[in-house]
């Protein structure tokens, strides 16, 4: 078993798509967030993703503040958006989604 450091476990917010997309009617990885800490605008897909046993934590790529905590025990979702000042979801986003 390889020992992995915290840094190596970091993925992109795009990896949260499977976890989050079930909750949203529109593409979530291209939705724009504004960080409550530093006001940086980032698509959800560009946040930093840290997988957890029952969900994930998404952090701001600029200031590292925790923006989203998703916990998904069985068939429930707990969505903590503590670090998201604004979430802008567009029905016709720039997403190249077909």
């Amino acid at each position: 078993m390889t020992i992995q450091t915290f840094d190596e476990l970091r993925l992109d917010g795009n990896a949260a798509a499977g976890l989050l997309q079930q909750l949203f009617a529109f593409e979530i990885t291209t939705a724009i967030t504004i960080c409550d800490g530093c006001e940086r605008e980032s698509p959800v897909g560009a946040l930093l993703f840290y997988g957890q046993p029952l969900g994930a934590v998404l952090r701001c790529p600029a200031c590292d503040q925790v923006m989203v905590v998703v916990t998904r025990p069985h068939d429930e979702w707990w969505l903590d958006l503590r670090g998201v000042r604004l979430l802008h979801v567009s029905a016709s986003s720039e997403s190249a989604a077909t």
Partner: protein, 248 residues
């Protein structure tokens, strides 16, 4: 279609293709597949006889123009899922799949500007979907692929990429090797750093759309080097695979 609902579908394995000693492509028929954009991934769920489930994400390798969905999976020795997908899986097997997922790391031929792709190992898979899609397009964007491999025999899609580039002057494909220097190798050697990007990638002034995919340390060092060279962070999209090759 930006409206998305994720449901599990039962896919059937139509064909298994050995790409390299450690990587296989799995051709799937997915009932009611809604279509995808190049760069998107799927979740696969495997259930064993005791009901234990393991779920992993895999990038789609095929272009949207193809009816089947093709995944290319690299073996991770201590993995739970990849040894099955690169070993035991057979034609006729059924797999649970949901997707496509992740509209952020996508590219289509309709987007303007040159396309710069940078791959670390099996990070090439979603980028290959982009190049296969591009080959179907009547108006081909200028495109460059720079990819890093440990050894020559680990290069996935080597022949197909040679053919694509041979028939297309707008496409440049460069592979670099980091662990060996085989006889007859005419490509570069060593890791992708700022010097290599300067030599083989589009310049910031050419305003490329940049997609970087690979293991987390690879993606972060390439993205840092690109920014150091003057590329705008917003023009660089990254897809980290984690340290072991497979996504989350």
């Amino acid at each position: 279609m930006t409206e998305t609902r994720l449901i599990w579908r039962e896919a059937e394995v139509l064909e298994v293709i050995n790409e390299t000693p450690r990587a296989r492509s799995i051709v799937l028929r997915v009932p009611a597949w809604p279509g995808h954009s190049p760069g998107q991934h799927v979740d696969l769920r495997l259930t064993d006889e005791d009901g234990y489930q393991a779920q992993r994400s895999y990038s789609i390798a095929s272009s949207p123009e193809r009816a089947e969905v093709v995944l290319t999976v690299e073996r991770i020795d201590e993995g739970e899922v990849s040894p099955y997908l690169t070993g035991e899986v057979r034609r006729g097997d059924r797999l649970e799949l949901r997707g496509p997922i992740g509209g952020y790391f996508t590219w289509t031929a309709a987007l303007p500007g040159p396309l710069q792709l940078v791959a670390g190992g099996s990070g090439i898979v979603p980028l290959m979907a982009m190049l296969r899609h591009r080959a179907h397009s009547p108006t081909r964007a200028l495109a460059r692929l720079l990819s890093s491999w440990r050894t020559r025999d680990s290069i996935i899609y080597l022949e197909e990429l040679q053919q694509l580039a041979a028939n297309d002057h707008e496409l440049q494909v460069v592979h670099t090797l980091t662990r060996e220097s085989p006889l007859g190798w005419s490509g570069p050697l060593g890791r992708i750093d700022a010097d290599m990007l300067q030599k083989f990638a589009f310049t910031p002034q050419e305003r490329p759309r940049v997609y970087v995919c690979g293991p987390t340390p690879f993606v972060e060092s390439v993205a840092d080097a690109l920014v150091q060279l003057g590329h705008l962070p917003a023009s660089i999209k990254t897809e980290r695979f984690g340290p072991t090759g497979g996504q989350s």
